[in-house]
Symmetry: C2
Subunit: 313 residues, 2 copies
Amino acid sequence: MKCRACRSKAIIDIPRHNAAFCGTCFDAYLIEQVRKSIEEYQMFSQEDRVLLAVSGGKDSLALWDILERLGYRTIGYHLDLGIDEYSVESTEKTVRFARERNLTLHVEEIAREAGGSVVDISKVTRRPPCSACGVSKRHLFNRAAKTYGCTVLATGHNLDDEASRLLGNILHWQDGYLEKQNPSLPEDEGLIRKVKPLNRLTEKEMATYSFMKGIDYVIRECPMSFDAKQLFYKKVMNEIEKESPGTKQAFYFGFLQRRERFYPETGDKSPPPYICQVCEEPSYSEICSFCRLRLKVTAPPGDESLSRPRTTS
Amino acid sequence: MKCRACRSKAIIDIPRHNAAFCGTCFDAYLIEQVRKSIEEYQMFSQEDRVLLAVSGGKDSLALWDILERLGYRTIGYHLDLGIDEYSVESTEKTVRFARERNLTLHVEEIAREAGGSVVDISKVTRRPPCSACGVSKRHLFNRAAKTYGCTVLATGHNLDDEASRLLGNILHWQDGYLEKQNPSLPEDEGLIRKVKPLNRLTEKEMATYSFMKGIDYVIRECPMSFDAKQLFYKKVMNEIEKESPGTKQAFYFGFLQRRERFYPETGDKSPPPYICQVCEEPSYSEICSFCRLRLKVTAPPGDESLSRPRTTS
């Protein structure tokens, strides 16, 4: 197997591009893919301050490394989810990564901010852990971006993440999610711009990059997500990709090309009608989802007053 | 397991409807589903003469049985594909089905109409057998409908067929096919109206109905389709359905609800610009795909003049 670019010995094959690369040319390819996404979707410029959500996994750490190489101004933000050893290891690896490279990192604990770990929240709210985690991350990432003066929030979602999420959303025609499935979601009523610069790169490519760069990341999956639908759709997408290489990319980018046709920006989107009474952020109810969750987790035992969203007259 | 309708012992469970039925209530359910499709998509009325494409498999034979029970005027049409024992058995079972019930059936042989069996055509045209078969069926079904004075062509495609075809089309964003994926395709420039009255019913339900009614059908799959993509997408859809019952139906009907939004009828469709010089049907080239195929199959050895579609100036 020879490198498509320089004909030396290849270290990775990329069937969907019908290509293989040596280490040096793979590095150039990968950087180019990230650069292309940032430009094409106008994710951010050298003037922006980018808050990077860093979990301690390969994607977000590698993205941090890449954005630094490309000369962007980044601030790392790590949320400690309080999921036993998994979170201990995730936080440790993230902190070490930042320290060794002299990067700015802020760490917050979900237990401190939401009143309990993801496990606690899930128990009290009787919602799946991934749901509790999602609500908390959305709120806290956004808050952190504002707190640290950032203009954009970047996450390490890769092509596999995006294609499998798209599959799940399309199979059930989740119009709301499909409308928002965009590698660059513009700023919107108190919510900061959100971008996914790794959307052209697969799991395998990100793992290879991390290995090549000696990035020490958390390998195991989050123990809470063992039954998550997302993992199932990933498995299905991998089967399809194996049968027909290139499908992941064609499916995801084909959707992005048609997204505005299918889900046109009508311009009549009404802003969230409330300001949360607790955190004072724009909200779709009197108290926002995160504050409701937090109040519920921290409520004295037996207090059921926040067990359901309040209805408004 | 009890029948949802009458509480007697159930013989089939239908997880996507969270239901189970006894034989009698299942029969009523199934007939109702077909009736609903015919009405909702205005497929045909009691006045129409329906040409039914009958392969000898469970779906088309059961559909014939159902349409007769519902009092529609049907004419059966069977195309003998010349695929060894498989076609011999298919033709035999179709002929016997019609004879036992005193139904009108016309049988044609692809070898006679196209100049060779599906295997021959595939060899000469160097196209996959399913492609040769598709081109021939489209042409001959349409011709037969006109010949026998029918106003509509019905096929036995079921929910599994439609959902897996949709999956394949969406994964590769085949806009042309997606636009046409409709259980009722209106008459269009020489092409007769085409309908799929079984689009609400699964493989399993059709097999159960056929078994209950003592319909003797060809069980094995077409030996030419063993590597067909369609079977792969069926396998994938079945995996997804098992993980999350109801997905097939939600996916397919969700698409139908959005079809016109995604692929609006613009009204600016131009009719086929040619009349085929051979068969005199509307065509997108001087000689239509079927006649090209036939001329190629019947050409003397060494004659390459029809190996490529002619280009028009």
